[in-house]
C-alpha cells in the first residue's frame, strides 16, 4: 500500500487529500467529499451510474484510482446546475418526465452533457450510441433520448 497526496478540483472547489493507492475515485467523491450524487451501480464499468466529467469527457469513477485523478478538474452531477438554474440537459429531463426512480439519472445527465459539449446537434442514433453505457431499468430510454434532443436544440438557440 502506498499513500499519496492529491489535488482535485471538484465542481470548482479545490481539495487536497491524502489517499491510499487502492482508493477509488467514486468512493473518495462519495465518502470523503460527501458528493453522493454519483452512484455505485455495478463497480465494474457496466452501468454508468458513477459517471463524472473529467474536463469535458465522461469517465466512470468506479474504475479510476483516486491517485490517478490527481490534478483533475471534475464535475459531478451536483455541479451541473448553476445555482437554481438547471443545465439544459437536466431541464429537458425534467420537462420530458424522463426521470423515474432516478438512480441512473446522475450518470445519464453527466454523459448527455458530455455528448452535447462534443456535438451540439446529435442525431437520434448518435444519442443512443453515446448513452449505451448508461443502463436505465425504468424508462426504456425514449424520454431520455428525446430530452437530449430537446436540450441540444435549446443550446443551439432553436
Amino acid at each position: 500500500m502506498s499513500k499519496h497526496l492529491i489535488h482535485l478540483t471538484v465542481n470548482g472547489k479545490e481539495h487536497e487529500l491524502t489517499v491510499a493507492s487502492n482508493e477509488l475515485l467514486l468512493n473518495v467523491l462519495r465518502d470523503r467529499l460527501y458528493l453522493t450524487g454519483s452512484k455505485y451501480g455495478c463497480g465494474v464499468g457496466d452501468c454508468g451510474a458513477c459517471s463524472i466529467l473529467h474536463g469535458d469527457e465522461s469517465v466512470l469513477s468506479c474504475l479510476v484510482l483516486a491517485v490517478e485523478a490527481d490534478g483533475w478538474d471534475i464535475t459531478t452531477v451536483e455541479g451541473l446546475a448553476d445555482g437554481d438554474q438547471l443545465n439544459p440537459v437536466q431541464q429537458a429531463f425534467l420537462d420530458n418526465s424522463a426521470v423515474q426512480c432516478g438512480f441512473c439519472v446522475p450518470g445519464m445527465v453527466i454523459t448527455s452533457t458530455a455528448l452535447l459539449r462534443e456535438n451540439d446537434d446529435p442525431s437520434e442514433a448518435e444519442i443512443k450510441d453515446y448513452l449505451r453505457g448508461n443502463y436505465c431499468r425504468c424508462t426504456g430510454y425514449v424520454a431520455m433520448i428525446k430530452s437530449v434532443m430537446d436540450a441540444a436544440a435549446k443550446m443551439r438557440g432553436e
Binding site: 426512480c101 432516478g102 425504468c138
Partner: protein, 803 residues
C-alpha cells in the same frame, strides 16, 4: 382547470437531477461501521462451526447464527408480509444454520471501513458439511433427491415438506371435463419461462442506527416501510414503537423489495450488537444472488368450438422458487387468477400449481407476479389456436375476453372484483387500424433475408389487492392531511413511490379535492412512527389504493374546511363553493352565487386557529373494495434476420387502460419502460447457472465446454453476477422513438380516485407474447420458451429448412 391529466415536473425531479436525492447508500452517519457478508461457497451445506475470533481481534463485530437466537430459538419468518399470516409460509431466519443456495449469507462482519470489514471477513473460519444440491424442480421432487427442509411453518402451524414441494394449489371452477367435451378441438402445449433478475439500478442496502432508548432507526431499500418495521420487530423481538423506518427514495424496485430484503434484519442485528450505526450495501454481484424472478413451466390445455368459443381451459404450472419461500403460495394463486381472468372459457377452469424448493437464489415478485409468465403461455396459445382454426386473432380475442360485468381475480382466488371499466375492445379495434393489421400477411407469403411480422397480445394487471371481502392479502392504506394557516397543504403518506409517479398522483388528488395549487401541496418526509399502515407499493396499487386513501382523507379535510368556513361565513356548508384561485395562489370558499363574500382557505385555517377551533386536518385509513384490472394491448412489429437469427423491433404500439390518466408522460414512461423490460425478457435475459453438481447431471450441459476467465463454482451464475454478462437492453436496442407509439383508452374507473386505476405491472404483461406472435407471423416458427435468442432462432430456421 384540473391538474389531473396534465404534465407537471415531478415532485422529486429536481432532487434526482441534481444528485441531491438521497438513497439508502447515501446515508452517512458519523461513527458508522460498514458491514459485509460472509456467503456460503457451497449451494447446499450445513454450517458446523464459525470461528470469528481472528476477525474480532481485528476490531470487527461479527454476527453469526448464535447471535440471532432469542431465548435459544431463531425467529422463523417470511420476508414477504403482504399476505395474511395464515397464508404465509415461514422458513427462514436472519442468518441460517444451513446454506441452501450458493452465496447465501451465513455471517456478517462490521468494521470501521468497508476494506477492514472485508479483511476481517477473510479471517472468519467456517466449517461446512457439504451436501448435494438439487437444481431442477422436476428432479427435486424425485425419490432420493436432496431435501432442503424437513418442516416449515404455515402461519403458526408446523408443516412437513415432502419431496421439496413447498406449495401446491389446485383451483377449479365449472366443469372442465364437460367443457372439453363440448369443444370441437382440443389444443395442448408446454411453455417455459426462465429465471431472470430485476436489475434495479440500486443494489439492496440498509443503514441502521441504534438509538439511546434501545430502539433503532432504519433506512432501507424498501417498497414498504411498515413491512420492514413489522418484520424487524418480530425478528429482533423489539416493540414496534422502538423501530422507526424512514421513507427514502428507492433506486428501482420492480418487486425486488416487496419483501424485506435479506440484508435488512442482518444489518439491524449487527447494529444492535455493535451498538453503533451500521451500513450494509450489497455489491452488484451479491445482489444477483439475493432475489430473482420466478421461472415457470406451463402446460396449457384449451377446448375450442368451430364457432370460435373457448369452452374450457386448464393450466398446470411448475415453479422452481429456490431456497426460500418469498411466497409461492400467493404466487400460484395469482397465476391461477391471471389465467382465469383473461378469457371466459365457458366458465370451466382448472388450475394445478406446484412450487418446488431448489438450491437456487429465492424468487420473489418481479413486475407482474406471474402475470407476464402466464400471459406468454395463454396469449401464445390464443395465437396458435387462431392460426390453426383460421380465426382472426383479434376477433377471436374479442369473442372470448373477460370485460365489463365479468369477474376479475385481482390477487388469486380470494380477491375478486366485477370489472367496471375496460379498454380491451377499443385498444384492439383502434390498434389494428393504426398498425395495419389487415395487411400483415401470412408467414408463407414472406421472402428475403429480413422478414417482418406483426403480432398482437393483450393483458392486464390488477389495481391493488382490495376486494369486497377480506382475502389472503392485506390491503389498505392511510394518509394524514392538514391545511396550513397560509392555505398550503401537507400530505403525510406511508406510500412509497418506486419511480412511477405515485407521489405526484397523490399530490394531484389532494390538490384537486382541496382546490389548492399543486405547488402548495407538500409531501412530508416521513417514517413508520408518524404514519399509519400501508401494506406496500406492490400489485399496481400505488395510485388506486395509496392515492385512493389520500383522496378519501382529503374529502374529510374538505368537509372540515367547508364546515369551518360555514361557521365563519354564517352559511351552511352545503351552500359553499370551494375553488382554486390561481391569482391568489390558493383556494377560496364562497357562498354559491355570491363571489363577493369569500374567504381564502388560508384565512379560514388561520381564523380557525385564532378561534382555537383546531387545525383543519384528518388522518385515516382506507381500503379499496375493488381491484379493477388495468388493461394493456401490444402490437409489435419484428424484423427477423433469417441468416443470423437476430431480431429487432422496428415498431410498437402500446395501448394502456388506466382509467383516467393522472400523469400522462409518466404513464407513457411506465408503458415504454415496461416494453423495454418485456423486450429484454423475451429476447435477451436469462440467468444461466452451472448445474454440474446437481442431483442428476444434465448431459448436454456437461458436453458443452465452457470457457470463462474465471472458474465457475457449482451453482454459480455464468455471468458471475456482472451486469455486462447479463443482458440488459441499452438505449441502442430500443426502436426509433417515433416508432414507439403510446395510446390510452377512453375509460373511467368509477371506483378509483377521479376515475383512475393503475397501470404499472399491466404494462409488461402482454409484451412477451406479442413479440413471439410477431415472430411467428414473420417466419412461421413458434417459440414456446424464452428468451428467444438469435442462437435459438437460427437453429429453428435451419431445422425448418431441412424439413
Amino acid at each position: 382547470m384540473t391538474v389531473i391529466g396534465t404534465d407537471v415536473a415531478r415532485l422529486d425531479g429536481i432532487a434526482k437531477l441534481t444528485g441531491k436525492q438521497q438513497y439508502t447508500g447515501d446515508i452517512l452517519i458519523p461513527g458508522m461501521m460498514h458491514a459485509v457478508l460472509l456467503r456460503s461457497p457451497h449451494p447446499h451445506a450445513e454450517i458446523i462451526k464459525i470461528d470469528t475470533s481472528e476477525a474480532e481481534k481485528m476490531g470487527a463485530v461479527c454476527l453469526t447464527y448464535d447471535d440471532i437466537l432469542i431465548n435459544g430459538q431463531a425467529v422463523v419468518y417470511n420476508e414477504r408480509s403482504v399476505s395474511v399470516p395464515a397464508a404465509t409460509y415461514r422458513d427462514r431466519t436472519i442468518l441460517p444454520n444451513k446454506a441452501r443456495h450458493l452465496y447465501e449469507p451465513i455471517a456478517a462482519v462490521a468494521a470501521d471501513t468497508e476494506e477492514l470489514a472485508y479483511k476481517a471477513l477473510q479471517a472468519v473460519k467456517v466449517e461446512y458439511r457439504v451436501l448435494q444440491p438439487v437444481y431442477d424442480p422436476q428432479e427435486a421432487m424425485e425419490e432420493g433427491a436432496p431435501q432442503l427442509y424437513d418442516k416449515v411453518y404455515l402461519g403458526d402451524k408446523e408443516v412437513d415438506i415432502c419431496n421439496n414441494i413447498g406449495v401446491s394449489r389446485n383451483i377449479s371452477q365449472g366443469d372442465v371435463e364437460a367443457g372439453f367435451a363440448r369443444a370441437d378441438r382440443i389444443f395442448e402445449q408446454d411453455f417455459e419461462l426462465p429465471r431472470i433478475y430485476h436489475a434495479q439500478l440500486e443494489t439492496k442496502g440498509c443503514v441502521v442506527a441504534p438509538e439511546p432508548d434501545g430502539g433503532i432507526t432504519v433506512w432501507a431499500t424498501a417498497q414498504s416501510i411498515h413491512g420492514n418495521r413489522q418484520l424487524l420487530g418480530r425478528a429482533l423481538n423489539l416493540p414496534l414503537s422502538k423501530i422507526n423506518v424512514k421513507k427514502i427514495a428507492i433506486g428501482g424496485a420492480f418487486g425486488s423489495s416487496i419483501q424485506v430484503n435479506t440484508v435488512t434484519p442482518i444489518c439491524a442485528a449487527l447494529a444492535l450488537k455493535a451498538r453503533r450505526p451500521v451500513k450494509l450495501i450489497s455489491s452488484r454481484e451479491e445482489d444477483f444472488y439475493s432475489h430473482q424472478k420466478y421461472p415457470v413451466r406451463f402446460h396449457v390445455k384449451m377446448g375450442v368450438t368451430n364457432e370460435g368459443m373457448i369452452t374450457a381451459a386448464e393450466l398446470s404450472a411448475l415453479v422452481d422458487f429456490g431456497a426460500h419461500q418469498v411466497q409461492p403460495l400467493p404466487f400460484l394463486g395469482c397465476v391461477a387468477g391471471w389465467f382465469a381472468s383473461l378469457y371466459q372459457y365457458g366458465g370451466n377452469i382448472g388450475f394445478h400449481g406446484t412450487a418446488v424448493y431448489t438450491n437456487k437464489t429465492p424468487c420473489c415478485a418481479m413486475q407482474g407476479y406471474g402475470n407476464p409468465q402466464t400471459n406468454f403461455a395463454i396469449e401464445s396459445m390464443i395465437d396458435i389456436i387462431s392460426g390453426e382454426m383460421g380465426f382472426d386473432a383479434i376477433e377471436f380475442r374479442l369473442k372470448n375476453y373477460r370485460g365489463v360485468g365479468h369477474e376479475f381475480w385481482g390477487q388469486g382466488p380470494t380477491i375478486r372484483t366485477i370489472i367496471k371499466s375496460c379498454g380491451v375492445e377499443e385498444s384492439l379495434l383502434k390498434g389494428r387500424e393504426i398498425m395495419g393489421w389487415s395487411g400483415r400477411g401470412r408467414h408463407t407469403d414472406k421472402q428475403g433475408r429480413i422478414r417482418h411480422g406483426l403480432g398482437v397480445a393483450r393483458g392486464f394487471h390488477t389495481s391493488g389487492t382490495g376486494g369486497p371481502k377480506e382475502g389472503e392479502v392485506i390491503d389498505y392504506s392511510s394518509a394524514f392531511i392538514k391545511i396550513n394557516e397560509d392555505g398550503s397543504v401537507d400530505v403525510v403518506t406511508p406510500v412509497m413511490d418506486l419511480g412511477g409517479g405515485t407521489w405526484d398522483a397523490i399530490a394531484k388528488f389532494v390538490s384537486e379535492v382541496l382546490q389548492v395549487p399543486l405547488q402548495r401541496v407538500g409531501l412530508s418526509p416521513t417514517d413508520t412512527k408518524s404514519t399509519a399502515y400501508d401494506v406496500c407499493t406492490h400489485a399496481t396499487r400505488g395510485v388506486y389504493c395509496g392515492g385512493g386513501a389520500a383522496y378519501h382523507v382529503a374529502l374529510e379535510v374538505r368537509k372540515k374546511l367547508l364546515e369551518t368556513a360555514g361557521r365563519l361565513l354564517n352559511e351552511h356548508a352545503e351552500n359553499l363553493e370551494l375553488v382554486r384561485d390561481d391569482d391568489l395562489g390558493q383556494g377560496v370558499v364562497y357562498v354559491k352565487g355570491l363571489r363577493d363574500n369569500q374567504m381564502t382557505v388560508g384565512e379560514i385555517a388561520r381564523q380557525a386557529q385564532i378561534n382555537s377551533w383546531g387545525t383543519l386536518q384528518y388522518a385515516g385509513s382506507y381500503r379499496q373494495k375493488n381491484c379493477p384490472p388495468c388493461f394493456t394491448t401490444h402490437f409489435v412489429e419484428v424484423a427477423v434476420d433469417t441468416l443470423t437469427g437476430e431480431i429487432t423491433i422496428p415498431k410498437v404500439l402500446i395501448y394502456g387502460d388506466c382509467g383516467t390518466v393522472v400523469n400522462p408522460e409518466l404513464f407513457g414512461g411506465q408503458l415504454i419502460g415496461s416494453f423495454g423490460r418485456g423486450m429484454a425478457y423475451t429476447l435477451y435475459e436469462n440467468l444461466t447457472m452451472n448445474e454440474e453438481g446437481g442431483f442428476t447431471t444434465k448431459p448436454q450441459a456437461a458436453s458443452e465446454p465452457i470457457y470463462t476467465s474465471q472458474p465457475v463454482k457449482d451453482g454459480e451464475l455464468l455471468n458471475h453476477g456482472a451486469l455486462a454478462d447479463y443482458k440488459l437492453p441499452t438505449s441502442s436496442e430500443m426502436p426509433l422513438i417515433e416508432n414507439v407509439l403510446v395510446r390510452h383508452t377512453d375509460t373511467y374507473e368509477p371506483t378509483g380516485p377521479f376515475g383512475a386505476k393503475g397501470i404499472a405491472e399491466s404494462a409488461i404483461a402482454s409484451v412477451q407474447a406479442a413479440i413471439a406472435n410477431a415472430i411467428y407471423n414473420a417466419i412461421g416458427i413458434r417459440f414456446y420458451r424464452l428468451p428467444i435468442t438469435p442462437e435459438i432462432v437460427l437453429q429453428a430456421i435451419q431445422k425448418k429448412a431441412v424439413k
